[in-house]
Homo-oligomer: 207 residues x 2
Amino acid sequence: MASAQTSSPAHPGPGLGLRERKKIQTRQAIRRAAYRLFEKQGYDATPVDQIAEAADVSPSTVFRYFPTKEDIVLTDEYDPVMEAAVRARPAEESPVEAIRHGVREALQHIIDTDIVELRQRTKLVREVPALRGRSAEGQAESAVMLCGVLAERTGRPEDDLEVRVVIAAVLGAMQEAMMHWVDRGQTEDLAGLIDRTLDVLGRGLTL
Amino acid sequence: MASAQTSSPAHPGPGLGLRERKKIQTRQAIRRAAYRLFEKQGYDATPVDQIAEAADVSPSTVFRYFPTKEDIVLTDEYDPVMEAAVRARPAEESPVEAIRHGVREALQHIIDTDIVELRQRTKLVREVPALRGRSAEGQAESAVMLCGVLAERTGRPEDDLEVRVVIAAVLGAMQEAMMHWVDRGQTEDLAGLIDRTLDVLGRGLTL
DNA sequence: ATGTCAAGTGACAGTAACTCTCAAAAGGTG
DNA sequence: CACCTTTTGAGAGTTACTGTCACTTGACAT
């Protein structure tokens, strides 16, 4: 029971005020409680009220942090990471390769830092229809972002049909790799699977 | 006002009993009422109760015909058409080409018979997030079906990663073509757009 | 025709995911 | 310590659904 946060009110340790720290704590508490309950009794069988109780906050607060129950599972910050990684690729690289490498790097980063959550989340997405649908929505947002990047690199317009198809194919392939991964108990090498799927695209869908 | 359905109770005209005919009528009535209201005041702003009232049935009945509000828009019978079309392709044809042609034929058939509904539906799917998500779900079902067909043709297992990627890419490309189509006011040639997207895939995502 | 059975319908009650509003509590600041 | 802003919880309301049950209405045999 040693005091973690002591009296000194002058400067909050990590540059964040108490308020901000509490927000992060609450967010985590809700998430953790939710994941634990989902694990134990399933997503659909877990009402938000119960999550609130387990996280020791009011239901209103849960909805303040996560606009929908689905968001408790799906909210992430991967897009900026991916965008940065793709933009950081050398300009000489072909656009498709840039995306390929950028996306792979971003995923590798996630694997290295967040593998536990990635596993739980991917499993839930695979199993719960409502989450699958919502996840596709999120993917569409990533697609818009990547279309922007690819459009810049190629000088094509953002809403160019071909650009969109390239992005949709790449993201779809990655998604398939992830689903395959959970189907096999998340034992295989995810990055390797992703390479296999992207190879199929590079070969023009040859089998 | 010549009597359409007269007394003869022996054999119902089109092979369907009165019961079946009424069911179809009710289904159509609900759908039409819904589309009309969605058009006028938007999807989210239209409660199911109002649709029920407009279609002159009880809310319970609406849910009996369509398990969710989204299904009123999204329920279709395209999958069997697509499956049949793909299976009908000659065995010598490369699997990817078979899917390409089958899917295109199916779509052409839909365009020829149902273009009005296709337009309304696609527009709604584009605009309403809830429908986008649910539609992606439906696409996943089509994907499972097509994976089965492609697996048969290639002798690969149904859950083969490469097979899944091929299907995901093709369906994703078609989806992009459709979205592009509505974005441009549904004036361009849809089949032509689809060809362009599938060409991108065949070229290995070359731009 | 008519009685019987099965299918379809509507009224009603209940659950759960949100949404909105407002007052109390807690953090930040001079 | 007093003041102001942000965050929280309580409560009421909406809407998409689910389940039950009694009632109606086609179907079909007699």
